[in-house]
């Protein structure tokens, strides 16, 4: 038990003293993961709407792909993105490897199928007749989609939570394409790995606690959003 107690004590001291560059690392993590989450939502929600509403053979195949994509290993995504952005890769000329944009690209790819699959399930649960009703009152395709997405908003909140959760805690891809450069591409997960390797368990645990706190806070906020909506609807 000593190892845990000592590490926890050291972590608390480090967080209080401000010696550890916690907030710089946290800021980089949030900047990268929030940008990737927003991009994944912008791409994944429309894709989820199409997957959840269209009736075709192709839709079924795409749904299988999206669901399989939820289990996409981040390290594989990191590998492919790193190869693509490496000097010999097709996008090597952009010079993005070991930069924040590279990390954002990798995390967007990881979060996209998660957001698309959860959104598709949420939208598919909205009765087709409600969209028909909107059409019968004069709604065009975009207005019809907006109504369906609005009806599925509780499920979309889950898509946000799942997408953000999949990338804020991810380490393999950001390590491979970001390189864990201090002050540049070092995020909470890569910093935890580094401190652990160095045997600085106190620092690693302190960052782990901050990461856990952030994940819990985001989910408390999203769950609050869901339940307040449900409470209001029940009147």
């Amino acid at each position: 038990m000593g190892i845990y107690v000592d590490a926890a004590r050291e972590g608390i001291v480090l967080l209080r003293s401000g010696d550890l560059d916690v907030w710089g690392v946290v800021a980089t993590s949030l900047r990268v993961s929030l940008t990737a989450a927003v991009l994944a939502l912008a791409l994944g929600i429309p894709a989820g709407y199409v997957l959840g509403t269209r009736r075709s053979f192709g839709r079924r195949a795409m749904l299988v792909l999206a669901n399989a994509g939820m289990g996409l290993p981040p390290v594989v995504v990191g590998l492919v993105v790193a190869m693509t952005l490496s000097r010999r890769g097709p996008l090597g000329g952009l010079g993005l490897l070991y930069s924040r944009p590279a990390m954002i690209i990798a995390q967007t790819i990881i979060a996209f199928p998660v957001v698309a699959a959860v959104s598709a399930a949420a939208v598919a649960a909205v009765p087709r007749e409600l969209r028909l009703q909107a059409r019968s009152l004069g709604a065009g395709p975009v207005q019809e989609a907006l109504l369906a997405l609005s009806e599925a908003r509780m499920g979309l909140v889950a898509a946000v939570a799942a997408g953000f959760g999949a990338i804020i805690s991810e380490v393999g891809a950001v390590m491979m394409v970001g390189g864990n450069l201090a002050g540049e591409t070092r995020v909470m997960t890569t910093a935890i790995v580094q401190y652990s390797r160095m045997g600085r368990y106190g620092a690693a645990l302190a960052l782990g606690a901050v990461l856990l706190f952030l994940v819990v806070m985001v989910n408390i906020a999203l769950t609050g959003l869901q339940t307040s909506g449900e409470r209001w609807e029940r009147g």
Binding site: S136, L137, E151
Partner: protein, 368 residues
């Protein structure tokens, strides 16, 4: 309210994979009237409503709005219509949000929306419900909100697809009367899909009966129900098939029609020698013991008949009788069946008024 406009179709066809096909060569709901599409489940009435409402695309044919061919790409045509379905399909939010939905699509400003929502809720008897969450409404209230949502956009054509089918019988009767009053007050062109002929008679000016994807009878509500055009329609409506005959005398609006085995008096202005079709509602036919003398009344038709069948119809029995080869039906109470000893083969006296007989020229009837 915008001026009503007729809606109809020409050569409309839509085939489904299972083999069912809708085929309606011509149909029209005249401007400002209510037409009911009546038929059993799966007869194609909702499909026809969807096609006329530009919610689905036909394989062939045209939808006509005010005589002009329109398609689902015609935004003005789509904005001229509004629909209410079997279930209210309200979106999450307040009653006012839902009623204002169509107005928002039409770009109405906030003030105009508020007034229109209040007016529409007032029309359906839900004034003051605007701020309520739709999750707190009863089934009847939800359906009235759905109607208010459609009325709020002041449509030129209103499409109602079995709007009362999920209501319980008591609520259904009350809402049918309320819907009829509201629709008459609005004078909007309305297509009302239902499988319930009582509901159709309460709400509609005209009725079209559908079977197997085709319209098999169409006309004024009383005529379609009173003089069924073919045996299937008669059976679906629960009445005896129409009687075919020739007018043998005509004097001061009273005619006598030879129907082959019986001569029936009716009130109509038809020339002698005309071929006509007659219909008598079972509720208008009284049965007595054959030797009895019916009470003094204006009933001109007193025919000796033989009971052919006695069929239970809920609280009443429908008794089929034969008058010299001519079939009539009478609706009789449970008690009367016992008192008269009605059974196949029993002789009875069938009595009904000349005014109870509906007369149609054969050429005026829709041919299935």
């Amino acid at each position: 309210m915008a001026s009503p406009v007729s809606i109809g179709c020409e050569g409309l066809r839509l085939a489904f994979r299972g083999g069912f096909a809708l085929d309606v060569p011509a149909f029209e709901v005249p401007a400002g009237t209510t037409s009911a599409l009546l038929g059993p489940s799966g007869s194609g009435k909702s499909t026809l409503l969807h096609l006329l409402g530009l919610l689905e695309k036909p394989d062939a044919g045209r939808v006509l709005l005010g005589g002009r061919a329109v398609t689902s790409r015609d935004r003005d045509a789509r904005l001229a219509m509004a629909a209410v379905f079997q279930r209210p399909w309200l979106a999450r939010g307040t009653v006012a949000d839902n009623v204002a939905y169509g107005l928002r699509l039409r770009g109405a400003d906030t003030g105009g929306r508020r007034d229109a929502v209040e007016r529409a809720l007032g029309r359906v008897g839900l004034s003051g419900f605007g701020d309520r969450s739709v999750a707190t409404l009863s089934g009847g209230e939800s359906q009235r909100v759905a109607l208010a949502r459609a009325l709020a956009v002041e449509p030129r054509v209103l499409l109602l697809d079995e709007p009362l089918a999920s209501a319980d019988p008591l609520l259904k009767r009350r809402l049918a009367r309320e819907f009829a009053d509201i629709l008459r007050g609005e004078s909007v062109t309305t297509l009302y899909v239902t499988h319930d002929q009582d509901e159709a008679l309460v709400v509609a000016d005209r009725i079209a009966v559908m079977n197997g994807g085709r319209i098999v009878a169409e006309g004024a509500a009383d005529d379609v129900v009173g003089v069924p055009s073919d045996p299937w329609t008669a059976s679906f409506l629960g009445v005896a098939p129409a009687l075919l005959g020739t007018v043998v005398s005509s004097l001061d609006g009273l005619i006598e029609v030879d129907c082959g085995g019986a001569t029936i008096a009716a009130v109509a202005d038809v020339a002698v020698g005309s071929a006509v079709s007659l219909g008598v509602r079972p509720e208008d036919v009284l049965l007595f013991e054959p030797w009895s003398v019916p009470p003094v009344s204006s009933a001109r038709n007193r025919l000796q008949a033989v009971v052919v069948e006695v069929t239970p119809r809920g609280a009443t029995f429908q008794v089929g009788v034969d008058v010299g080869g001519v079939r009539l039906a009478a609706s009789v109470s449970r008690a009367a069946v016992g008192e008269l000893g009605l059974a196949p083969g029993s002789p009875v006296l069938a009595v009904f008024k000349a005014t109870a007989v509906r007369v149609a020229h054969l050429s005026a009837l829709a041919v299935p």
